[in-house]
Structure formats: structure tokens, C-alpha cells
Point group: C2
């Protein structure tokens, strides 16, 4: 039950009151448009309502809307009319790029209680340009490049958000990078340095080391002297995570990661980051040295297949880790829970972490790795890529309009360099479609056991169909 | 159920194998001598046996021995013959002073599983002079002043201990101070700085702020900028703990400490140190802010009266705190357990903490507060003072021989300056004896509610008799 690329449940962290949520666009007729994930019903309504601003009725923008819990096709592109009303302490942001997070996948299945009921716009992080500022806002101006963190609602072309939920982008940072930083890096930073108190010569286990949080955590570990990083990922990603800083890559699909860690570090580890939950949290606890810290931040094991898998959810609950005070005392261990989505209102803590992260970015010590960039219309494929653990690094949405020819091809956007490889992938994808599944493969040449992986995928596909 | 002065369960931290324990004195006839705690049976045997060293048979030394579980009188002075055998990696230490810890009180009642069954010498920390060194020892020499940490066995005039369980005393440090430092300061240091990651502007709740760990923790908090310290203690100790650095002293006997903290810090606290256990651990958890850390390090609530109180033990178990992973995630909190006595073999961690502590000592930023010093024969009274929460700072035993006249008086030793006050206390003590109890009072002039406290003590005395 080890899941890869599973920065589950981490997300935005702003004191996002209902009355200031970014999805507060004017109540207006929304129109479904041709979306990659396709067949959107026309009825999808807006989540929030405010007064219409008549003179700006001509203003339209696209938004992704979760229309109901379920599979990838539940998130649809809709066109909204009327500029979102701007409060005194808010700024209007023209969104350029958005980050995908595991919590978005959980939310789509109805497994994430920080997202209001559908219809609602998901999205916890984005980057963009300030297009207007509220009358009380003094530290942001039109034209500023910003990153935004919010509890939800950022997967739209235009959002109104509290100014203190924005962070100025440093010089030279791309919008894609900016959309890849907030959730993953703040999560990794606060876990490793506040709860974990990571110091030189220590050892850390990072599950899903090729995922968003995994990549961020690996890079942050390397900012501390002589830290040993154990990282799980499927074999095809080992070269990539090794280059990124993982000292000991472990293929959780073919090996028992507990045994692998014990072989190298018989005494155990100083820190284990656990995005998996269930029985893996028990394993994490048992792997700790005295004075070790287990930091659990998700329940990726709950996520099995495209739609909610009740068996996986029940299993996760059944195996949920719990601990008594006296056991902790006798073993000198620490158990911490982290979830950026529940840090509502802790803007000071968030900004403190973000300052440190951007300082490391400026020093060239960290750099977000973008796996792939997708158009809004392709959000379903983007989510699939992440959920099926095929990404290395961050999966990004761009608000750039999708060229007509691409729409026909349904290929991912951006990243021209990858185009050729994608064409190759496309062929394999088509082959798979014949088997009833549409999947993306990358770095196939590096893969050691393509057969085995393919079989596993088939099994997963079967599960999804159930 | 709030206990004062309760650094429970913390203790020594050396990889104390059975084959290298300091109580490894030669097997020889021990003779009970007149002890303050009195009526010791002659049968008390040594805990460990090794070969006799014939040429050193004339060598005798006094040792405190726990002869069975129970009240204060179970710890007796015995005279042992023959010099302890010295292993290659050990040093022989002529003990000058010993520290008392809450775990010693728990151990006497049979509530501490790190002490072997009686008869056995307790004692987790001491200071003294190196009298001989084993053949492999290169970093210690005869005449060195050292502090010693061990799992047990240090309440003796002479001990053989592994050299790496000793720490050189800095210039100008007294033996009493040296015996007061290891357990309390290492415990406070590792809790606040490793698990707690204490930073400027944070807030900390310290229970039993006048106790050994409480005093050390308060001083260590003051080494960090703008830390707010909430400290519980009975009202008579508030002036003392205020001077020591507690920002907000709270009288747990007359007030609800949770309410008092909330009045001043409505959002809660960054760190709570919990030596109490049971229902107080729940209160501690609920008092945490997001990203807050609860560090539980004892179960002082178990200790009610002189002998094991089964009701208190059961109550503590019944109310024991436990936590689920998902609850931790949703509240962004950390729960840590600490107990120096279970850090066997972690000599590197111990020395790392001790280096930092001694550096702070040399800079004059910390200084152990000695409450009182007692002769070995007075160990019963010393334990009573600590258990009845009448100490402010550390309770110390000295190996200096007890003058004959003092033996008659049964007064505490040392600390000449306190002599006069002690005489006063003595009178009150005598008065109490008439009521069937022998107790010590200090700082009576500062006490705001002497009547109330006295009544409480009577009640406690009644409990003990049961």
C-alpha cells in the first residue's frame, strides 16, 4: 500500500473565510465549453454569489468547476461573466498558472473536507499578475507578479483574493515555477524544519520522492550538511530522484522499504515524512531512532482508483495509527500531523516559511521541478497523470488558451522540449486506449521493468472501473 | 491533579548494560548503619556480584540501597567492603554529591521499570573526583572533576562507571551544582530545543516551575529572545519563580491553569511541557496553537502519597492520553514523549546536549538552583521534601560524613546560610511531629495562604497513612 507522488492533503493556508473566498465571482450564467475532460453538463452553477456589476458584464473568464464528486470528468471548464467584486483588502489577480495537489484529487472524490460542496472551483495555489487593488491595499500594485495561496477557488483565469494571501514573486521566476512553490515547499519546509528540526548528519525517509512535496523535501534536505535521504519511487524514476539529491532510492513496488532502510541504517531514522497513512504510518513510527520524528501529512492510501474506493478508505481508517502518551515517553519519539489546509489564519507562520524558501530560491539552493504543463481543458488528464504516479515533479495548469489543433490532439500544453517525447508517449497511449485505458508514459527508456509496471497499471485500471 | 515540582521519570541516559553498571561493587558483607531514615534490616544484600579483590578488602564505603518497594524508609545506608572492580573502559569516581530525581521517588514505589529489583542502589546522577582509570581510558585522569550519568547506582561513595558516561566539570562549578545539572538540564534542553524547536516570541507552559526540570526549563527559555513563560507553582513560590524568569506564575492549587493561560493567551501556546500525565496531558494538547508541541515526560499524577497508590495509578492509566494520526493532521500539532532513562546508548546525543548546556553555564546564562543538601543518612527526609513539593530547585545528597550532633538533631546538612532558617523550620517541624507528621517548610514568610497549605498537607498525610 505504498503510494508514490503523494503529497496528499497539503494545500493552501490562508484564513479563507467564506465571505472572502476567491471564487466569489459574480452570479452569472456560466457556459460549458469544449473541455479536454469533455461532456460537461450545462447546469454547473457557481459556488458563490455576489452582486452583478452591470458595467463590467462584458467581462468574461474561464474557470474550472468541480460539478460533483467522482472521476476525472467531474472538473469542467465554464465561462463566467462579470468581473469578480473586489473587497477593500483584496487584489484582483489575472491567473497565469495553477498548481495541482493531491488534496485536489481527494477533493474530487469527496474525501477532503476543506472544499465546500460542489459546484465549486478547486485550486489552492496559483501565480499571476495583479490587475486591480482594493482601496485598503498598500503593499501590492497593478502589474505585480504574485503567487497566491488559498483554501480553494484558484483554478480560474481571474480571482479576487486577500492581499495578504499573495506573495511577491522574486526576479527571474517563471509563472510555472511560482505556481509550483507555495503548497509543496511550505509543507516540506514546515515539516522538516519546524516539526522535524532537521540537523546535519541526520537521516530522512521521503515517500514519493519524485512527487511535488517529495521533490521539495529532497531539495530542502540538501540545504543541510550531510543529511542522508532515503526516497521511495518506482524504479523508472530512480535516476531522476538520485540526481535531485536522494541518497538511497528505494523501489517500493518490488522491495520492502522498511527492510531496505534497515539494511543501510540499522538503528533507524531521524525523520520520516508520511503522506500515506494507514499501516505505513505504523511502519514509519517503528523506523524512528530515539528522538526521531514521524510527520504524517496525508492519507494517500485512501486514494485507489478514479472514484472513491470505499474499501481503501475503510482500510485506511481501520489501520489508522494511534499512540499512547506512555509509549511515546518510553521510546523518546515524536508524532506530528501536518496539513497546510488546516492552517487557516496562520498567515504569519506561512509568510515566515515563505520568506525562508524564497531566500533559498534566490541563492539557487532550491528550484521547483515542473513535470508537465496542461491547459485548463486538459485538467482531467493532468489529474490522471498525478494520481497514477506518472509525474516527476509538479503538474501545472496554464491559463494560456489552447490552440485549436491541440484540442483535437488532446496533447499536454507547453514545454516545447518535451514535445517530441510526448509524441512518442502518445503512440503508446493510443495503444493503451485499445486496451480500454488512456495513459501517459514518460522516461520509458529508463524503466527497468516495463512489463511489470504495465501489468500493475492494468490492475489499477480494473479497480477504477469498479 | 496538578503536581508541583514534578520532573518525573527523567533520569540518566547511558548505555548502561548489566555488565557495566556502577553498582558493581565487590560481593561483600554489607553492614547497616544508623541512618536518618532508620531501622534498616541487616539483610539488605548487594545487587551485583563480582570477584573479590583480596588486597583491597580493607576498602569500605557507604552506599544507599533500596531494600524493597515502599515508603521513605526503604532506602537505607549500608557499608560495603572492597573496592569496586574497574573495567578497561571505566573510571572509579569518589562521589561528592548526588542529585535526587522524581524517577527515584517512582522507583522507590516500584513504579519505575528502569531500576532493577531491590536490593539495588538507586541514583542517576552524581559528581565527584576520578580516583582511578581503566587501562583503555585516555581522556580522563586521576583528579579530574566529573559529573556522571547512569541508569541507576550512583548513590554511593564510590562508583565504577564507563568513562564515556562522565562529563568534565567546568572551572568554578561546585560539586553540588554539578550533581544538579545532568538529568534536569539535559531533559529540559532536549525537550525545548530538539522536540520543541523553541524560537523567539513563542510561549511555553512549564508545570512545577520551581522543581528541578522546571527551573532548568525556565532558565533555558530565557536564553531565547522574548519567550513568554507560563509556570505553575503554589503561591508561596511565585516570587522565586518570577525572579527566575517565569512571566506568568499560576497557582494551580487555587486556579484552573487552563483558564489562566487562555485569559492571557487566547490562541493557546507553542509548547507545553507535561510532567503530570493523565487528564493533564489532554489539557496540554488542547492548549496548543497550530504547529504547537506537547512534550510529555512523566506521570507525576501517579505519585500520591508515600507508598504506591493504586487508585492514582489506575486513574492515570484510565485517563491516559492517546491520539490518532488524522486528528494530528487536522490540528497541525505535535505530541512528543521524552524520558532520559530510556535514551540508553545515545551517548552522542547526550554529550551534544551537555556541551551546549555547559557553554550556556560558562556564559552565565544558566545556573542550577540548589534547594537543599542532605547527608546520605537523611535521604528519607530529602525524598519527602521533594515528593511533598516543598523544594524550590534541586534536592542534593552529599557524601560528606554527618557530624554526630547533627545525627541526633536529624537536620539537613550543608548550606550554612540556610541554617538559621532551618532552625526555624525545625521548630515548626517539631510542632508537626506532634500531629503525627514530620514536615519541612521554607519561605514561609512569602506564603500567602499558610493555613490552606497546612490543611492540604494534613490531608495528604492522611492519604499516605492509608
Amino acid at each position: 500500500m505504498s503510494g508514490e507522488d503523494a503529497p496528499v492533503q497539503q494545500q493552501n493556508a490562508v484564513d479563507q473565510k467564506q465571505d472572502s473566498k476567491p471564487s466569489e465571482e459574480p452570479k452569472t450564467e456560466s457556459e460549458p465549453v469544449a473541455a479536454g475532460a469533455a461532456d460537461a453538463p450545462a447546469a454547473a452553477a457557481d459556488a458563490a454569489t455576489t452582486e452583478k456589476v452591470p458595467e463590467e458584464e462584458a467581462f468574461t473568464y474561464r474557470a474550472l468547476v468541480l460539478t460533483g464528486y467522482g472521476g476525472y470528468d467531474k472538473v469542467k471548464v465554464q465561462v463566467k461573466k462579470g468581473k469578480p467584486a473586489l473587497k477593500a483588502a483584496e487584489v484582483l489577480v489575472r491567473v497565469k498558472a495553477c498548481g495541482l495537489n493531491f488534496a485536489d484529487l481527494m477533493a474530487r472524490q469527496g474525501l477532503y473536507d476543506r472544499l465546500p460542496s460542489p459546484p465549486v472551483s478547486p485550486g489552492m495555489e496559483c501565480s499571476g499578475l495583479v490587475e486591480a487593488v482594493g482601496e485598503e491595499v498598500t503593499d501590492r500594485k497593478v502589474g505585480d507578479k504574485v503567487m497566491v495561496l488559498s483554501r480553494f477557488g484558484l483554478w480560474q483565469e481571474v480571482v479576487a483574493v486577500p492581499a495578504n494571501h499573495t506573495i511577491l514573486m522574486p526576479e527571474g521566476m517563471s509563472f510555472e515555477e511560482a505556481a509550483a512553490i507555495p503548497v509543496n515547499y511550505i509543507t516540506a519546509y514546515m515539516m522538516l524544519f519546524d516539526f522535524g528540526h532537521l540537523r546535519p548528519n541526520q537521516s530522512v525517509l521521503i515517500h514519493s520522492a519524485a512527487g511535488g512535496v517529495g521533490t521539495a523535501a529532497t531539495q530542502l534536505c540538501k540545504t543541510v550538511k550531510d543529511v542522508t535521504v532515503f526516497g521511495t519511487a518506482s524504479a523508472s524514476k530512480h535516476e531522476a530522484i538520485g540526481q535531485a539529491g536522494v541518497t538511497h532510492p528505494i523501489d517500493y513496488r518490488t522491495k520492502d522499504y522498511v527492510e531496505e532502510v534497515r539494511k543501510i541504517s540499522p538503528k533507524g531514522l531521524d525523520i520520516v515524512l508520511d503522506p500515506l497513512g494507514g499501516s505505513d504510518t505504523h511502519k514509519a513510527y517503528n523506523l524512528l531512532k530515539p528522538m526521531g520524528k514521524l510527520i504524517t501529512y496525508g492519507a494517500a492510501n485512501m486514494l485507489a482508483g478514479q472514484k472513491k474506493n470505499l474499501l481503501a478508505v475503510a482500510k485506511n481508517w481501520y489501520h489508522q495509527f494511534s499512540i499512547h502518551a506512555l509509549s511515546l515517553i518510553q521510546s523518546n519519539k515524536s508524532v506530528c500531523g501536518f496539513h497546510l489546509g488546516y492552517l487557516d489564519g496562520e498567515t504569519e507562520l506561512i509568510h515566515e516559511a515563505m520568506d525562508a524558501i524564497l531566500e533559498l530560491y534566490k541563492q539557487g539552493k532550491i528550484k521547483p521541478r515542473i513535470d508537465s504543463t496542461w491547459h485548463l481543458e486538459q485538467v482531467g488528464d493532468a489529474m490522471r497523470k498525478m494520481q497514477e504516479r506518472n509525474n516527476i515533479g509538479k503538474v501545472i495548469l496554464t491559463t494560456d488558451p489552447m490552440p485549436e489543433e491541440e484540442k483535437k490532439e488532446e496533447a499536454p500544453a507547453a514545454d516545447k522540449k518535451k514535445e517530441d517525447k510526448k509524441k512518442e508517449d502518445k503512440k503508446k497511449e493510443d495503444k493503451k486506449k485499445d486496451e480500454g485505458k488512456k495513459e501517459e508514459k514518460k522516461d520509458d527508456k529508463k524503466k527497468e521493468e516495463p512489463k511489470k509496471e504495465e501489468e500493475e497499471k492494468k490492475e489499477e485500471a480494473k479497480k477504477e472501473e469498479k
